[in-house]
Amino acid sequence: GESVGLHLPTLSVQEGDNSIINCAYSNSASDYFIWYKQESGKGPQFIIDIRSNMDKRQGQRVTVLLNKTVKHLSLQIAATQPGDSAVYFCAEMEEYGNKLVFGAGTILRVKS
């Protein structure tokens, strides 16, 4: 996994606005992608996943977009709430049961 030391990128949004968190992945052979949310003092929590044969998948208030051409993944959160404040990680997997490679993470801060 990649790391950026102690200075993770931070996204600050106003409560009620939409949030977009971006992730660039490295392996063109990756065929499965997951977004995780990690709150302070907790383990990563599964949010949504997408396979490489899709370019969009929607969940409850969240949407994941996949652009394989430029190896880019994004997580959109609609009507962001204070409870959405956390660190968000994307992760890629090359094949079933294989290891997850995590992106650096983005801190989301929601202002009330």
Binding site: S3, K42, D49, G97, K99, L100
Partner: protein, 113 residues
């Protein structure tokens, strides 16, 4: 999703000692993994815990430093041996159940003095 617990949740240890972390799942799972998350950083895979055989370690991690056991399909342990302050991290286990999605335990927060 599977319910995963880890023990201890946190510990403060002296350098040179060892700590064994337990991971318990409430259902049988096909795969279990151990990750390390250094302060302020992302997650790095340490090894895949294989049931009934030796763990598969990632580059940079060795069995002598991080011995792993997995005696059955619901339980695994990770030992952090001969600890130094650089081992201060969050250690997380994850599992893969019927689908590909990996679910994580709450983590063990380790501080080595």
């Amino acid at each position: 999703s599977a319910v995963i617990s880890q023990k201890p949740s946190r510990d403060i240890c002296q350098r040179g000692t060892s700590l064994t972390i337990q991971c318990q799942v409430d259902s049988q799972v096909t795969m279990m993994f151990w990750y390390r998350q250094q302060p302020g950083q992302s997650l790095t895979l340490i090894a895949t815990a294989n049931q009934g055989s030796e763990a598969t370690y990632e580059s940079g991690f060795v069995i002598d430093k991080f011995p792993i056991s997995r005696p059955n399909l619901t339980f695994s342990t990770l030992t952090v041996s001969n600890m130094s302050p650089e081992d201060s991290s969050i250690y997380l286990c994850s599992v893969v159940g019927g689908a590909e999605t990996q679910y994580f335990g709450p983590g063990t927060r380790l501080l080595v003095l």
